[in-house]
Amino acid sequence: MSQINKSAKQILAPVVSNKRVGQYHQIILNIGDLAAVCKPGNFVAISVGGDTSKMVLRRAFAISRVSNSSTFGGTMELIVAPHGQGSKWLCAQQEGVMIDIVAPLGTAFGIPTEPVPVLLVGGGYGSAPLFGLAEVLNARGCRVDMLLGASTASKIYAPMEGKRAVNSMRIYTEDGSMGQAGRVTDPIPEIIKDLDIAVIYSCGPMAMLSAITKISDQFGVVHQCAVEESMACGIGICMTCVLPVENEDGSISNLRSCIDGPVMDGSKVQWSQVGTQL
């Protein structure tokens, strides 16, 4: 077995900036040399609440983008929705505060060796890591098209600068309050046919990932999805974040989404068996 999380380190990272962007916070951390080893799809586990907190577990967040070129040295961008106690605490941290992080963790999106057409599909704030991914794919010469979906306009995360690396970006909301009314999965079959899509990259709620897998299986398209399961540790020791995944021999095992994910082959995940007794 290869070494687990071989680039991961636990460091104290200062907050460089914390800005509210609609319903979300864009938080930039200075992570120094670690930026060089973070890949699109990797995540970070963050200690929340301070030393005397009653919250004993780290929170896992997708790394939306890293940068080596800024005046602060290496930085990491996170897009955080202040939903629970931990994310609210993180969103309240001001510039200069030191944050205890462990990163980079988990698997990364695989980048095609050839410049093939690819489709990126994001649900809600799950779309955040797709923009960093789009830049990498664009640099590889891939044609990158993007679909973003959410229940309503306020839950769409689509920064202006995110459009630079994509050929097209279409937005779908279930209530029609932004972009087209409907589900983000509706146009996928047409796009696969029209653009000869080779790989779908997705990030978002389980129901969306499951629906995309049905389509990708039907068309024989590779589907790399980043899953979200609740985690206690993020480093592979607690065994809480498992998903049923088909092994090479056809058997099914509960695999840790922190070690064998978050990026998984959608066609191998047994979506209908999630939450059931194997």
Partner: protein, 315 residues
């Protein structure tokens, strides 16, 4: 530089430090090895392994609670054969001291597991986990039944012979912990691991059903620490010559010292590693300093120190 003898012994086995992982909280070591060399702690207690591959319970398996968490993993694991083929060689190569934790559904399964371990080199002790709360039938928690506990330990002792120390891991969810501890020691346990998680439940107020897939789960973390300290104190008072591996919410050197003073010969760190992968290293360093600050020249002097007679007492 004040010198401190930090070593401890469990049965016939010597460990250079009294700090261990807690079973089920460190898998088989590879994950933590990214953060510190495994040989630098007292030893690793591996995740309880059963005879066969076991998928564990359905998700959700975790719920955070104030100063703690519930887990409902259900002993997911690769089975003893894969464990012996892959994990023991790795840990041996890392020069880690290894305590293998075993779990079974029947008395015979424990003996079968012990038989497979008997000829394996590089193992320092066996933990017999008879108290995992995440089983379908609470009647199967051996550690809730004095007679069943005795039979499991007796079976393992007969199989393993006198060579490897046996540590029995007990549950705090019993009326009379001391009598169960006495029973397993009489049956051949060399040491005790106290405590396993405490059975608990969280109800999701949106779905209005139990949060965990397995409905109930084991509570761990600082929330249960006083229960663990009490359990160790009571058992040490009754069985002062039986080494105890104390665990339950230890997150700092201060917490580790408290457990040692209560009567533990060593401490296991579990949930704290989830929040801080290097927790065991910092707890170890803090504990050393706290012992030195209090004038102890060896860890052993501090074991059970909270039980000493009060000044002027006639006891």
């Amino acid at each position: 530089m004040t010198s401190l003898d930090f070593s401890t012994t469990i049965g016939s086995t010597w460990f250079p430090a009294p700090t261990f992982t807690a079973s089920g909280c460190a898998s088989s070591g590879r994950e933590l090895a990214q953060f510190f060399p495994l040989r630098e702690m007292g030893g690793i207690v591996t995740k309880s392994v059963m005879s066969k591959v076991r998928p564990g319970r359905p998700t959700p398996r975790m719920a955070e609670t104030p100063s703690g968490m519930l887990n409902s993993i259900g002993l997911q694991g690769p089975g003893i054969d894969a464990f012996l083929a892959k994990d023991i060689p790795y840990l041996t190569e890392q020069k880690a001291r290894i305590i293998v934790s075993i779990a079974g559904e029947t008395v015979e399964e424990y003996s079968t597991l012990a038989r497979k371990l008997r000829s394996v080199s590089g193992i320092s002790a066996i933990e017999v986990n008879i108290s995992c709360p995440n089983v379908e039938n609470r009647g199967l928690v051996f550690a809730c039944d004095p007679e069943a506990s005795r039979r499991v330990i007796d079976g393992v002792r007969r199989t393993i012979g006198g060579e490897l120390p046996i540590i029995a891991k007990l549950s705090p969810d019993v009326t009379d912990l001391v009598s169960i501890a006495r029973g397993v020691v009489d049956a051949g346990a060399d040491g005790l691991a106290l405590i396993n998680t405490v059975l608990g439940m969280v109800i999701n107020i949106d779905t209005m059903r139990p949060q965990l897939g397995g409905k109930t789960g084991g509570l761990s973390g600082p929330a249960i620490r006083p229960i663990a300290v009490r359990a160790v104190y009571q058992v040490h008072a009754a069985l002062p010559n039986t080494p105890i591996l104390g665990m339950g919410g230890i997150s700092s050197g201060r917490d580790a010292l408290e457990m040692i003073l209560a009567g533990a010969s060593g401490v296991s760190i579990g949930t704290a590693s989830f929040g801080n992968p290097k927790a065991i290293m910092s707890i170890q360093n803090e504990l050393k300093q706290l012992l030195i600050d209090r004038g102890f020249t060896s860890l052993k002097q501090a074991i059970g120190y909270a039980h000493r007679a009060e000044a002027g007492s006639t006891q």
